[in-house]
């Protein structure tokens, strides 16, 4: 690792699906001579791009896990993390942007700003990451970089400024005009490795001059020197312009836009130049920690390697050699053999092997100084854990972890799979905080939750490939309830007196609905009709009867039981007898109390661009929703509805489909309500069939 931190860049490459991130990274690695051959993401040779090392990634042509690498360009060391574009793998973007100093926002020259572009932009805002934009695929039919620049302004609110002008577009795309140096840039050679500067074509000169005016005007907002030069009509140098733009980028008030075609090997080298000239080094970014001794007061960290260590673990990978922990050092230095403290657990650990990553390849190193990203072996920790020098009371804030939106029940196909599923889930949930697994107490099902169907699909496939664990899946079972709707009396005698020790107990009273309670038991026995010592047994008998309702074996709730009479036998009455009597009384009363099935109703809140609110309401309507109302928030509308949980399975997919991925929803439990008759009948029919199958 190089020592001059001013020449270090830690950048992420983020975008919507299929914008060209991985292809761009492949070109960057090639031109920086980090790799010597380029491969396509889903190429015919089957090798796949460098950063897509997982088999599943190569097969599907998608990036599933973020991958880190590094390269050198113009004397600068650039650490790059290539991230996935699917929202299902959003945690990879979240954790990467948390630890990076800058980013390249890749946009498709045809589709422009898309749904995940908006999401990654929000993520960049969350972590205050400066970015530059790259309009890719300028060789495609329909490419229009000017439109994309406009969308950056209108849809993402960026102060976007074009740094280049395309020379030709679509099939005629040849190169770019650099508006700072006012030169045309062409890319020759087999792989675009030969950058040639030339005069600007005459037909583009006026447009270039106009755009340059805009560029200089924008840059001058961040540079007094440039402003002065303009006002005094002095020469405006490229350094002045670059410095002004850089100041705007670092302040996150300006987004310079570059253009090209990664697949056609055009526009990459100027983008690399821009990374070194415009994106911040670690010294330009203020990093804060919280002082645990001073009520979490924020403290600005220094990048000096002599200071105590403060580092953040942002990713884990469980591999054959143990846990690999990716770490960013913010202050001090992490060296082999050091003893460091995990702030969350308070445990001291000794640093063993230190690694630098290049996709899935490792290079041993001795130290990771402040400003750098590396990895450790053999340290057990969680994503988001902070590591410090012993005695230091600082901690870093972790990354934001969104809640899962979709669940599935999984059923191992055989015993061997069951054991392996457990191992697989243990590992995956540790590596990915957005992937959760738990056992539903009521149904006994193993439920997995994630950020989307693709997310769960990938993990199920990985279970199969990496752990030989085959599972069947189904929608999670809904936790229905039974309750009664009217008062009913009971009077039950439990008697077994055929000779020898017998059983006798009589319980009389009534049950009534208690909507706000689970179970209420009232003893109104007078005159010792049921001896006091057996009252608890009665209550237990009633309570036990509610575990599985008589009708559908769903838990019973909302019942008030009052016992006001009974009878006992001096010899044959016992706890057991009165429990049995209570059970019989429950069944007797329950049958007369007009029992019904209740289903969980969820409060669902959908936030959608206003243009889709009609479509969103239609999707809710189709799911037996009661739409409570809509709240107009300008470009967005928030829709609140009450929806049965049983109707919510797969909703995230539907919602993404009708809103082009631009809407989000949250769901929380609200209450239980009676199911409609048709649903009750369907449930009864299904239960009867299941019983028949079991028999």
């Amino acid at each position: 690792m190089k020592k001059d931190i001013r020449n270090l860049r830690n950048i992420g490459i983020s975008a919507h699906i299929d914008s060209g991130k991985t292809t761009l990274t492949e070109r960057i690695l090639y031109y920086t001579q980090r790799i010597h051959t380029m491969h396509d993401v889903k190429g015919k040779d089957g090798v796949g791009a460098t950063m897509d090392s997982m088999e599943l990634e190569k097969e599907r042509g998608i990036t599933i896990a973020s991958a880190a690498t590094y390269c050198e360009w113009l004397g600068h060391e650039i650490n790059i993390i290539d991230t996935p574009g699917h929202v299902d793998f959003t945690i990879e973007v979240e954790r990467s942007l948390r630890v990076l100093d800058g980013a390249i926002l890749v946009l498709c020259g045809v589709a422009g700003v898309q749904s995940q572009s908006i999401t990654v932009d929000q993520q960049m805002k969350r972590y205050k990451v400066p970015c530059i934009a790259f309009v890719n695929k300028c060789d495609r039919s329909g490419a229009n970089p000017e439109r994309v620049v406009r969308q950056l302004k209108e849809k993402l609110g960026h102060n976007a400024v074009a740094m280049q002008l395309p020379i030709g577009l679509e099939a005629d795309f040849e190169g770019v005009v650099d508006l700072v140096s006012m030169k045309a840039v062409y890319f020759g050679g087999d792989k675009g490795e030969e950058v040639r500067l030339a005069e600007i074509p005459a037909d583009l000169m006026q447009a270039a001059l106009d755009r340059r005016e805009i560029l200089i005007d924008q840059a001058s907002m961040f540079s007094d020197e440039l402003t002065e030069a303009i006002l005094e009509e002095q020469d405006v140098t490229t350094e002045m312009i670059t410095d002004g733009i850089r100041a705007g980028v670092v302040a996150r008030q300006l987004t310079p836009v570059f253009m090209g075609s990664a697949y056609k090997n055009k526009g990459i080298q100027p983008l690399l130049d821009a990374v070194t000239q415009l994106l911040p080094c670690p010294l330009d970014v203020e990093n804060q920690a919280l002082d645990m001794n001073k009520e979490e007061q924020p403290i600005v960290l220094s990048n000096e390697i002599d200071k105590p260590l403060v580092a953040l673990a942002f990713k884990l990978e469980d591999g054959p050699y143990g846990q690999l922990t990716y770490i960013r050092v913010y202050q001090g230095a992490l060296a082999k053999g050091d003893t460091i403290v995990n702030v969350r657990t308070g445990k001291k650990v000794k640093v063993g092997r230190l690694i630098r990553m290049h996709a899935d390849q490792m290079e041993d190193i001795d130290t990771i100084p402040a400003g750098y990203i590396g990895a450790l072996f053999g340290i057990d920790c969680a994503s988001g854990d902070s590591f410090v020098t012993p005695g230091v009371s600082l901690t870093m804030t972790s990354m934001y972890v969104p809640e899962p939106v979709i669940s599935l029940a999984i059923f191992p196909k055989d015993n061997k799979s069951e054991v392996n599923v457990s191992k697989a889930l243990g590992r995956f949930t540790k590596e990915d905080p957005t992937f959760k697994a738990y056992v539903n107490d009521e149904t006994g099902d193993t439920i997995i939750s994630g950020m989307g169907e693709l997310h769960l699909e990938v993990y199920i496939e990985r279970m199969r490939r990496e752990y030989q664990a085959e599972v069947d899946t189904s929608p999670p079972r809904v936790a229905y309830r039974e309750t009664i709707t009217q008062k009913a009396e009971f009077d039950y005698i439990h008697k077994k007196q055929t000779g020898g020790a017998g059983q006798f107990g009589r319980v009389s009273g009534y049950m009534a609905p208690a909507p706000d309670e689970d179970f209420v038991f009232e003893n109104k026995i007078v005159g010792g009709a049921i001896p006091t010592q057996f009252i608890a047994a009665c209550e237990k008998g009633f309570k036990n009867s509610m575990v599985k309702g008589p009708k559908m074996e769903f838990p019973v709730t909302g019942i008030r039981v009052v016992i006001d009479d009974g009878a006992s036998h001096s010899v044959d009455s016992s706890d057991m007898a009165f429990q049995a009597a209570a059970r019989g009384a429950f069944l007797q009363g329950y049958a007369k109390a007009k029992p019904v099935i209740h289903e969980p109703i969820m409060k669902v809140v959908v936030e959608t661009p206003t243009e889709f609110q009609g479509a969103v309401m239609a999707t809710l309507n189709q799911r037996r929703a009661l739409i409570v109302g809509t709240q107009d928030e300008g470009p967005f509308t928030v829709i609140e509805a009450q929806v049965p949980l049983s109707e919510m399975f797969g909703y995230s997919t539907d919602l993404r489909s009708v809103t082009k991925g631009q809407a989000q929803f949250t769901m929380e439990f609200l209450t239980y309500k009676q199911v409609p008759q048709s649903i009750a009948e369907a449930l009864m029919k299904k239960a009867a069939e299941e019983k028949k199958n079991v028999a």
Binding site: T485, K594, V596, Q613, G614, M617, I627, V628, T630
Partner: protein
């Protein structure tokens, strides 16, 4: 034996008219009881709706006197009669408006000791839809677009609309004219709240100044006036304004319309 929960039936579940369900009859009776207890019937209006389709009504008062509470009671009365109410608020978010309804309904149910009020509430809730806007983001064309969406998608077709929070100043008249056209196309009754101000003297007959320029557009107007410890409901326009009609009172503690009986 399971009950047939017809009171929760959706559009997808046509009711069988051949069987009378005791439960539903009970709910109908409960609803009728509450409807009959509606004190506004004593104000002399021809129908429970007070307004005919396409007509405007206004409820006027200073801030905090009870305009929203009054209109919520009007709305609940319509909902009990299975009429659909679209409540538009420019002041409050969905949650708060929803709470208004819940709170007022609970108080009414308690006052008249209505049994199974929870289930009754569940049965009337589908007859209400709340829409909120920011004042600066509200416009008649936008409202028309939203309304058309609701109707065309078969989500909600209102019989009554409440618009709570439009600032009534000099520039509101053209909007009201457009609204009048809109409700002509989607026949419904519309109630507005008009906030009056202490520093603005009303007309000699008590009509607030904000109302005068647009009075022609309204078929009914009700003024809420604090009188001692109570709030008088005074009909300024419409059938309820006839001299022989009694004024009603609003209980400031519960914000419910007091039943003179």
């Amino acid at each position: 034996m399971l009950l047939n929960p017809q009171f929760l039936r959706t559009n997808a579940e046509p009711r069988s008219d051949k069987i009378i369900f005791i439960k539903e009859r009970n709910f109908s009776m409960l609803k009728n009881e509450l409807i009959l207890k509606n004190p506004l019937r004593r104000m002399g209006y021809g129908s429970d709706d007070i307004l005919d389709k396409g007509q405007f009504g206004a409820v006027m008062a200073r801030a905090g006197v009870g305009k929203t509470a009054f209109l919520v009671q009007l709305a609940l009365n319509s909902m009990l009669r299975e009429k659909k109410v679209l409540h538009i608020s420019l002041d409050d978010p969905v949650k708060k408006v929803s709470l208004w309804y819940k709170e007022v309904f609970s108080r009414i149910a308690n006052q008249y000791e209505i049994p199974q009020s929870g289930q009754l509430w569940d049965s009337v809730l589908p007859h209400r839809f709340i829409m909120t806007f920011r004042v600066e983001g509200f416009s008649v064309p936008k409202l028309e677009e939203r309304l058309t969406d609701l109707i065309e998608q078969d989500i909600f077709k209102p019989d009554m609309m409440i618009i709570d929070g439009i600032p009534f100043g000099e520039s509101v008249s053209p909007d009201l004219v457009k609204l009048k056209d809109l409700v002509g196309q989607h026949p419904m009754r519309v109630w507005f709240t008009i906030r009056t101000h202490r520093h603005e003297d009303p007309d000699p007959d008590g009509t607030p100044r904000q109302f005068i320029p647009v009075a022609d557009l309204f078929e009914a107007a009700i003024l809420l006036v604090p009188v001692g410890k109570q709030i008088q409901i005074k009909a300024l326009k419409g059938a309820g304004a006839a001299e022989d009609q009694p004024d009603l009172m609003l209980d400031p503690a519960t914000m419910l319309i007091l039943d003179p009986a």
